[in-house]
């Protein structure tokens, strides 16, 4: 198995927790991994992204070649589009549709969503809303990870196990909330892609 994943969002939205969870699942399966992250300037509310590569074979480049990413996983809709040139024509885009508006010229959200609709394979969901309904407002990132789960080639149990390892130190309650968020995201992805397929 080999997956090249672009993670995208805005500083502070938790894309590195998504990367860490997928990375943990990969490590537990004995896979190779490279994950490059952005540090420094971009953390003050700027756009952030990470290249995550997991594979059964050794990984050479820390960066994913343009046009060859298997997935874009984004916690913000405009940020998901910023990385479209990286996505392969068969690749999947999984994104939150809740905009994070910290700039004056943020485009009209309808236009952003219209662009999303043009992406051949995508799952778009209101992760913030879903997380809030679960009483887990801070876990929107795990909802997104859940929505990406069906495309990751891990069993759902493997991802759950990774969440337990990553959030273990923060206590049972945090683990429970994140697991629920993960499951809710996955359910949305499964039902929406079935509709698309139909």
């Amino acid at each position: 198995m080999k997956k090249d994943i672009i993670l995208a969002g805005v500083g502070g939205q938790g894309i590195l927790s998504i990367a860490a969870t997928i990375g943990m699942a990969a490590i537990k399966r004995g896979m190779y991994l490279k994950q490059s992250e952005v540090h420094g300037m971009s953390q003050r509310g700027g756009d952030v992204s990470s290249n995550l590569r997991i594979s059964d074979e050794p990984v050479f480049s820390d960066l994913i070649p343009r046009g060859l990413a298997d997935m874009i996983i984004a916690v913000e809709p405009m940020e998901s589009l910023r990385h479209l040139p990286m996505l392969s024509p068969e690749g999947w885009l999984i994104t939150n549709i809740k905009p994070y508006i910290n700039i004056r010229n943020y485009p009209e959200i309808e236009k952003v969503l219209a662009e999303l609709e043009k992406v051949p394979h995508h799952v778009a969901l209101d992760a913030d809303g879903i997380a809030r309904d679960l009483g887990a407002a801070k876990s929107a990132n795990m909802v997104i990870l859940g929505a990406a789960a069906p495309f990751l080639s891990f069993s759902f149990e493997q991802l759950e196990d990774a969440i337990r390892s990553i959030f273990g130190r923060k206590g049972e309650e945090v683990i429970r909330i994140n697991l629920e968020a993960l499951k809710a995201g996955r359910d949305v992805a499964i039902s929406s892609t079935r509709i698309q397929a139909g």
């Binding site: 992250e37 300037m41 662009e115």
Partner: protein, 538 residues
């Protein structure tokens, strides 16, 4: 041993701990910061009594490391590429003194300037100083090379420079550790004059270094960090340095490059491998992140002989970092089709955090300056550089650390008034103090705002050497007491702050205003850890 998942920076740090490091001194700077951060927070390092300190600047850091080496112990410093400019004096001269205990300098370059003012290539410094240079291609090599560097440094009695770039510094992968080693005992240099660079000694030492250089070349030729990989298609031979090796391999299934290939990880360049490549192939392609260093060497001034491709003939862009797609193009592969970024996507530049003290300093300063023409604010490097962007548009320069005060001085000396310098607390102790002394001595008409947020915020909140000392420093330099004014950059004091700034702008002479309030990010972190500590007490 189980593999650790480490950033390139962290692999270097862990390797140094395992190599019997006694001390690391550093000044933060992206993408090098995580090296000292890792050791600073490592329990293992603490248990081993390893000194890890954030110091005033890269020069003081490197000199302290040199002192540790003088005393026979292993030492390291890590900095961003422009930090090596600040430390250039001890760097060049330490090549002449040589080392006693193992001494490693790490410089992290930032091609594409993700968070820097330029994209200079530290290998040029290494070449300039005639020092051996290591350039890892991946996280495991970063670990292994660090282990190697300390041994090499002690074997030849020279400092070693390690150079890596942002992508490796900030990328994570599995790293296997090797057996750890004890620290060295204290032991002074056998030659008591080794570190006295009086001309008579310096000449002797320099000749020694020149005499060692052929040995460094021989070491490079036999080093496992350099290699020749044969390939059937000799129409092209490829030289790939450091991380460029990965980008090259990425372009071929299973990493099987059909061309003869020289991987360079240690300098001086392995002449044997490169000669063989040149003789076996019709043309050469050089892939290196940063400056076309090897490419220039191969081409020579006259560009005679076989074609050498790279950054100088447009096979690779002249600036910016490499990536697999750029390398694919240089290899002549068809571009992978990809869609463009949709037009609706707009830039999302970084901005000051909500409630950041710098916001209120700029609000007051902008208002105080409305009666003067624009173009009078000389700034510096830190979070407050974001004052250059909307909605503030408050500053007119940002060049190098400390340049705010000295540029304002120069402009003021020739008649610009008012001339305002805006500098952060950490930047002030890094390189601002000496400039302020010049202002006092010359009676320059400058207004210096030292933004004291009690931390080095830009790089993630390391302690600031300035904390608790700024007024005393200014007083000691000779700034008049009545013109050292502390204010609180909060909206509720806006009118008060504005009045102070207006008044000081009118004053003819050196004036220091210190807007003082803790950075929101560090304050939050500090409160969290205080609550945690309290809970632990209960």
């Amino acid at each position: 041993m189980q593999k650790l998942l480490l950033l390139g920076d962290e692999a270097i740090a862990q390797a140094a701990i395992d190599a019997g490091l006694s001390a690391i001194y550093a000044y933060p700077g992206t993408p090098s910061t995580e090296i000292n951060e890792y050791i600073y927070h490592s329990r293992e390092a603490k248990e081993k009594g390893i000194i890890s300190s954030w110091v005033a600047n890269e020069k003081t850091a490197m000199e302290a490391a040199l002192g540790v080496s003088y005393a026979g112990k292993r030492a390291m410093t890590a900095m961003k590429h422009v930090g090596l400019n600040v430390a250039a004096d001890p760097f060049m001269n330490s090549a002449i003194t040589g080392a006693n205990g193992g001494l490693l300098f790490v410089a992290c370059d930032d091609p594409s300037m993700h968070s820097s003012q330029n994209e200079q290539d530290s290998r040029c410094y290494g070449k300039f100083a005639l020092l051996p240079i290591l350039e890892p291609a991946n996280q495991q090599e970063a670990y292994d090379m660090t282990r190697f560097a300390f041994d090499f440094s002690e074997k030849y009695g020279v400092p070693v420079l390690m150079r890596l770039t942002t992508r490796l510094a900030h990328s994570r992968a599995g790293v296997a550790r090797s057996e750890s080693r004890e620290q060295n005992p204290l032991s002074l240099p056998a030659n008591h004059r080794q570190f006295i660079l009086l001309p008579v000694n310096a000449r002797r030492q320099y000749k020694k270094l020149l005499g060692q250089f052929p040995e460094f070349e021989r070491e490079s030729e036999v080093s496992g960090f350099n290699s020749y990989e044969d390939g059937p298609d000799t129409r092209l031979g490829i030289i790939a340095c450091g991380i460029a090796y990965n980008y090259l391999k990425e372009n071929y299934p299973g990493g099987k490059v059909p061309h003869p290939l020289v991987k360079v990880g240690m300098y001086p360049c392995p002449k044997n491998h490169i000669t063989r490549l040149y003789e076996s192939c019709d043309e050469i392609l050089v892939l290196e992140d940063g400056h076309p260093l090897i490419e220039e060497l191969l081409r020579g001034m006259l560009s005679r002989g076989k074609s050498v491709h790279g950054r100088l003939d447009g096979f690779v862009p002249r600036d910016g970092e490499l990536n697999p797609s750029i390398v694919a193009k240089a290899l002549g592969f068809a571009e992978v089709p990809s869609v463009p970024v949709p037009d609706v996507v707009v830039g999302r530049p970084p901005s000051l955090c909500g409630g950041c003290p710098h916001i209120y300093t700029y609000n007051a300063l902008n208002e105080a300056l409305t009666e003067y023409a624009k173009g009078r604010v000389f700034s510096d490097i830190g979070c407050y550089t974001l004052g250059a962007l909307e909605p503030f548009d408050a500053i007119n320069t940002c060049v190098d650390m400390g340049a705010s005060i000295t540029m304002a001085k120069g402009a003021a000396d020739v008649g610009l008034s008012p001339a305002v310098a805006v500098i952060g607390d950490s930047t002030f102790t890094h390189s601002g103090i000496t400039g302020l002394l010049d202002c006092v001595n010359d009676g320059s008409n400058v207004k210096v705002l030292i933004l004291d947020n009690a931390t080095t915020a830009m790089t993630g909140g390391q302690p600031s050497a300035a904390t608790g000392r700024i007024e005393a420093i200014c007083k000691g330099l000779g700034v008049e007491d009545t013109h050292i004014i502390v204010l609180n950059p909060s909206p509720k004091y806006h009118e008060e702050n504005l009045a102070i700034m207006k008044k000081e702008l009118e004053y003819q002479g050196v004036s220091v205003i210190i807007p003082r309030r803790e950075c929101i990010q560090t304050a939050t972190k500090r409160k969290k850890s205080e609550i945690k500590a309290k809970k632990a007490e209960l």
